[in-house]
Amino acid sequence: MTIKGVASIVGIYEHPLRIAPDTSTPQLHYECARGALADAGLTFEDVDGYFCAGDAPAVMSMADYMGLTNLTYFNGTDIGGASYIAHLNEAAAAIAMGRCKVVLVTLAGRPRSEKPQPRPQGAEAGWETPYGGSPPNIYALAAHRHMHEFGTTSEQLAWIKVAASHHAQYNPHAMLQNVVTVEEVVNSPMVADPLHRLDCCVVSEGGGAFIVTTPEIAKSLGKPDVRLQGAAQAIKGQNGGKIDLTWSGAVHTGPKAMEEAGVKPSDFKYASIYDSFTITVLMQLEDCGFCEKGKGGAFVADGNLISGQGKLAFNTDGGGLCNNHPVNRGGLTKVLEAVRQLRGEAHPRVQVPDCHLAFVTGIGGTLAVRHGAASAVLERIA
């Protein structure tokens, strides 16, 4: 059994707001759903599968709010910001099994306007929660170890932000549209050693949505057929204390997704790589095989991730580092920019010429404590 070729993305929508004080979270989800369905040429009545994660009120509540009365399948998998990449995998599996035909996936929220819901906690809570560790310092733990083992430098990490900023200058919705230099990144205030303020993503509101359906329905809609060719997901925790911070769950998901699709890292000219922090990108590039373990610093340096300049264009919308990071969850927008690239709908200044293959990967939760990883290979079918 494989999910290769059984599902296509036919609708995408990214909410234009970055700060949304005069809305509600369910309203933002609904607006994103409406946008993605309109893009696909489908209606709410067509939706028989609905997927959302921890940013949404529960699946039941959201389905009721949006008036989704034809659901035969639903899913609330939550691996933080990478949830929506895992949803691609799960939606394709559901479609392959005939459980549903048109899957809506939404993400939205207002972390600047309302207090985020605390994450549900498990047995580890006693030993972790009191410290109040948050993404910046927990990702920093992995960055420090990477520097120690491989000699990775702050300047190399900074190149990831520099590349994102080069792309964001062409996105009128991006929160940070100024091109920055390596010096500006390493001279920005230290947030959590060794990560500086500009190693961190933005905090934004808004959201997005996409529609997954069968290739047959995709064909009937007359939209470019963006086909899911491979997908994988994994969870990495502390393993009873045997945790090794030099790799992420993407070490499993990247190669598996590529193997299912029958492609290799060097086949890609574009990748959407969840960029909660610069170290998140570096880790995934290594783990997915774009370069050797420990060589990520050299790989990202000197503009290698800048579209039109380097070997692998990444996050051409500006990513989480510059564009947006709705509800502190960047996986869904990674899918959206990959689809734009495959449709030829990215900004002309960052569009990869004849982009027919795109890689999407994400890490959600916290890199150095426990996280979920998900990867996907998308291909434009002529």
Binding site: G126, W127, D193, G240, G241
Partner: protein, 129 residues
């Protein structure tokens, strides 16, 4: 950094022996009689081999710093997180006491300690040795 702004740890029947020992300044691990491995945080059934119920043992809580970071700003001021690799094996996610912030480095020796937090409950920290 003020300890009394740190919430007390959540305790359940499975974790209570650890925190009861902590109140006496003792650090407990659980070890599996089947695979002989110690693990952290403590679980009744071995999370490594899944073959047996584990047993409590007292540990000196000593080890070396595997990685660290200082969060420069927070509502309770700067604080340091780290993984301390215990001599018994497990890498333990732990906060370092503020006195050590400027001297933290990967590879340095350190040990587990306990300090009262909110409601005078003991919480686990680490200190350089």
């Amino acid at each position: 950094m003020s300890y009394d702004q740190i919430p007390a740890p959540a305790i359940n029947p499975e974790s209570k022996p650890f925190w009861d020992a902590a109140a006496e300044g003792k650090f407990l691990l659980r070890r599996c009689p089947a695979c002989k491995e110690a693990h952290f945080w403590p679980r009744t059934i071995c999370p490594l081999c899944h073959k047996a119920d584990t047993e409590w043992e007292e540990s000196p809580g000593e080890g070396t710093i595997y990685t660290w970071t200082v969060m420069r700003k927070s509502p309770r001021g700067p604080f340091a997180l780290a993984y301390l690799e215990l001599d018994e094996g497990p890498r333990v996610y732990v906060e370092f006491r503020p006195e050590d912030h400027d001297a933290l480095a990967i590879g340095k020796r350190a040990k587990i300690m306990f300090h009262p937090v909110k409601d005078d409950k003991p919480m686990m920290f680490a200190q350089l040795v």
